[in-house]
Amino acid sequence: MLEAIELKKSYGSHEALKGLNLRVGAGDIYCLLGANGAGKTTTINLFLNFVTPTSGEARVNGIDANADPLQTKRYLAYIPEQVMLYGNLSGLENLEYFARLGGHDGYSADDYRGFLQRVGLQEDAAARRVKTYSKGMRQKVGVAIALAKQARALLLDEPTSGLDPKASNEFSELLLQLKGEGAAILMATHDLFRAKETGTRIGIMRSGRLVQELSTDEVSHADLERIYLEHMR
């Protein structure tokens, strides 16, 4: 579903990505680990066509994101570290707008309420203006947008950083549900524990390269941490 082929990105003389290859299939939760500046966000932005690759391709459903971004974005949902919404609109109104931007016009008001219920946003909050929301609530709306969009691939950039453990746990539950529905999920994170718990595969990045890939069922929490730290040395 998501596929990076010899993906390179330079900012001026600085090479942020030095030939990345990775695949995330349907039903995969691929966790990208790596130090600050390793190139995780750059990778995600390339799939979103927010930045133009220097060479190589970021493919979504077999289509080059740089060649036909309007097409690839039909399949994608994006949840950044901070889901930013329109403060003067309610959660429901935000959801409706983004769902329709994604090309889904057919939902009823009940459907929208249903999505917000499913991600665990309280009824009364849904009708409130978003400027009164906590970060956790906004991340939930972000997931609801992905649900409404029926996205086949999710790009998550540290979506749980700063969430309390319970909210973080709820978020992971939602990811597992989406995975169950056959979504391909690529998530950049610094949370080794969650990566091991929810992820199916893990990729460790360093200075723009993928230095190791492993399956989460191959390693224990302790092993993962040891391997990660070894690469960071």
Partner: protein, 492 residues
């Protein structure tokens, strides 16, 4: 997709105070400007009507005198004679029989009729006197109240609707658009939107359409209300054609400012930077460039001063009087009314003073010509430099559409001078022939009939500014396209 974003943007705008504050200000500004414009037009119309009524009254009394005189003669017998200078009322022929007196002491007012839109753009009309007295004597008497030294004044003084549109509307537009993209980027919603199948171009266009349709609907609606409220001649096609051109110019001018905001926004700088750049551009285009062009016009082509005109008139007069014989003659030349009745000299002096006025007029002719030429030069220079600033183009277009342009006024002045000549010839020829004015002559005095300029002439003058604004808008729409492809979506 466009529709969705446009309605979303409209909803967001409706929920922010800024739009409402701006619309309220606009309503007040246009309301006040319309009232001021309406008042200025009524004041000029009333001034013209009062002045004309006064002169007509004087002539009506003279006509009545000649009628009474004719009736008296019919009863008593005798010939209808020409009055010399009469200061004994009731005896002999009344002054009204003397063409020199009637032509010199009463005036016919020449009036430039306002267009139906005059109240929308007072423009130069505060310095353009729209009714002038035509009488014998010299053209100097006609234009002495006229502001002839600065026929080109781009710094719109009056608070009229044109001022609101040219000065304030851009500020309102920029207040709504200076952070068109930068605010989305700073808020973080830009990445959220662009993760959906929407192009940046689509997004920008929709955002502009949402704002432009609200602003333009309001401005045009208010313009229409103003026209209905303080406009005149609403039953004439010409008024509505002019209003159509007025709207077209307003549309293009507004579009320019919207597109300018787009152009600044596609470079991805912060809202604060965008705001400062746009405010600076406004200052340059709306204030500084028009002032400089105006200054350039009056510096390169200064009109002769009013003083020159007066001095020249005096010199001509003195020269004329020198040819007039002895001191007594000279005294009576200045105090014609104190000549004893029936004195032959009265006749001679009236003739002499007529000749005198003619020679003064002749001496002044080159000066008038110079005024006219300098005014045309100034106008031509402004026409040429208008393309430096949409505000100048807009001012020219609005003045032209409202019939307050310098060119229309110059044409009126030409007609006015011509009429004064006609008036002078009519009375002078009768006076010099000593042919008495009869009551029925009063109905045959020359009348000023304003000849409207041909529509083609007006359109030709409008073509420059309108085409300039249109091309500017097209250029401004194309300019951001390349930069847009390089736009950095991800915040750093």
């Amino acid at each position: 997709m466009y529709r969705l974003i446009v309605s979303h943007e409209t909803r967001l705008l409706a929920r922010t105070g800024a739009l409402w504050a701006i619309l309220l200000l606009l309503v007040f500004a246009i309301g006040f400007a319309a009232l001021a414009g309406g008042r200025s037009v009524t004041r000029q119309a009333k001034g013209a009507a009062d002045a004309a009524a006064f002169e007509d009254g004087v002539r009506a009394r003279m006509q009545a005198d000649t009628e009474a005189y004719a009736a008296r003669l019919a009863a008593s017998g005798g010939t209808y004679e020409f009055a010399t200078v009469d200061h004994v009322p009731g005896r002999g022929p009344p002054q009204g029989t003397n063409a020199g007196v009637v032509g010199a002491e009463t005036a016919a007012y020449v009036v430039l009729p306002p267009t139906g839109l005059a109240a929308l753009s007072i423009g130069q009309s505060d310095i353009q006197l729209r009714y002038l007295p035509a009488s014998m004597g010299t053209t100097l008497d006609m234009v002495k109240n006229l502001e002839i030294e600065n026929p080109v004044n781009l710094r719109t003084g009056p608070f009229d609707i044109a001022f609101v549109v040219i000065f304030l509307l851009p500020i309102f537009i920029l207040a709504l658009t200076y952070d068109l993209l930068s605010s989305e980027k700073e808020r973080g919603t830009l990445a959220m939107i662009l993760a959906h199948p929407v192009s940046l171009r689509e997004l920008l266009a929709s955002k502009i359409v949402a704002r432009a349709s609200v602003m333009l609907a309001v401005v045009m609606g208010l313009g229409l209300l103003a026209l209905l409220g303080v406009g005149t001649q609403l039953d004439q096609v010409e008024t509505w054609l002019r209003f159509g051109l007025w709207l077209l110019a307003t549309l293009l001018y507004s579009l320019f400012w919207f597109l300018l905001a787009v152009l600044v926004n596609v470079h991805g700088r912060s809202s604060a930077t965008n705001g400062i750049m746009l405010a600076g551009t406004w200052l340059i285009l709306v204030v500084i460039v028009p002032t400089l062009v105006s200054l350039l016009a009056t510096t390169l082509y200064p009109a002769p001063s009013r003083m020159d005109l007066i001095v020249a008139a005096r010199e001509a007069q003195t020269a004329g009087e020198k040819g007039m014989g002895d001191a007594l003659d000279r005294f009576y030349a200045e105090h014609l009314d104190q000549l004893p009745a029936g004195d032959q000299r009265a006749m001679d002096f009236l003739t002499l003073s007529q000749a005198n006025a003619a020679s003064i007029e002749k001496a002044l002719l080159p000066l008038y010509q110079q005024f006219r030429e300098q005014a045309l030069h100034q106008e031509a220079l402004v026409q040429r430099f208008q393309y430096l600033s949409p505000a100048i183009m807009m001012q020219l277009a609005l003045n032209e559409a409202s019939g307050t342009s310098t060119a229309r006024y110059q044409d009126f002045l030409d007609q006015a001078y011509r009429f004064r000549g006609e008036w002078n010839d009519y009375f002078a020829s009768r006076f010099l022939a000593r042919s008495p004015l009869r009551p029925e002559d009063y109905d045959r005095f020359p009348r000023f009939e304003y000849v409207p300029e041909p529509a083609a002439a007006v359109m030709a003058r409008l073509a420059g500014p309108l085409a300039g604004l249109l091309l500017l808008c097209i250029g401004m729409a194309l300019l951001p396209l390349r930069q847009l492809r390089r736009y950095q979506v991800a915040a750093r």
